[in-house]
Assembly symmetry: C2
Homo-oligomer: 121 residues x 2
DNA sequence: CTAATATATGAGCGCATGCTCATATATTAG
DNA sequence: CTAATATATGAGCATGCGCTCATATATTAG
């Protein structure tokens, strides 16, 4: 079933078509900025590799650093960012801090993106 | 059903568990970089809003610029980038160039991301 | 023809970002 | 206790990125 909607494109109002039930609008700046920030978390190779490592199991900083062959500092900085974005949690266990994934929605985006690039060029 | 896998974490080999059938490995740098580049396209508010506009219907540059209340130049630069990434196609029609979405997989990521931020905080 | 419109694109500027390096703190080993 | 280990974090630097501005080209109007 197809319905006709009106979309505000600046000064003009334009008619368009879409499947019933789906959203149709130009995102406001605030929403677009929030969505862009969500994707920004996944827009760096180091963070991607950290996420891929934590997908296997929870790991502490030096394990991640060794797996990625990067400095502890670089990994720790990225983990701080992932913590702020609530993508991972860090749990202190003695001298170690064990990091684990904590946002399955963003992990779903990661998986879907990975599936996409894996069966293309 | 759960199976046990071995994952190379640098010098060490570690056992872990996962659902049968899913992938489990630390992404190599090349794949991580490609995946990060995919998400990078969606990591800017202007590009997000252009995609949201084109989701309604194909539009030419000045229509997009008016809808987003941005300069033609800024929009044109972003459209050039979206073209290079094969996310949109531009079709010349007289003086106008009509842009349309051309990558449903990345649009799916956009939709999933939008759905995610819409039913959270 | 000239003028207006529509788009593309290079240069440059300011700001964000990801790293390294230095340093701080906490915990455990000996 | 001291030394070693594990992590966090600020400063600084190099690079990337998104915008504006200037300019070029193409098409259509008159």
């Amino acid at each position: 079933m197809e319905t006709v909607h009106k979309v505000d494109l600046g000064d003009e109002v334009v008619a368009t078509r879409q499947q019933a039930g789906s959203r149709l609008e130009i995102l406001d700046e605030a929403t677009a900025t929030r969505l862009a920030a969500t994707f920004s978390v996944l827009s760096d190779p180091t963070r991607i590799r950290i996420i891929s490592a934590l997908a296997a199991r929870a790991l502490c900083v030096h394990e991640i650093a060794r797996a990625l062959r990067m400095t502890h500092s670089a990994v720790s900085h990225q983990l701080a960012l992932l913590r702020e974005m609530h993508l991972v949690t860090g749990t202190k266990k003695g001298r170690h801090v064990t990091y684990a994934l904590d946002d399955e929605h963003i992990y779903d985006l990661y998986s879907q993106g990975l599936a996409h690039i894996r069966h293309q060029s």
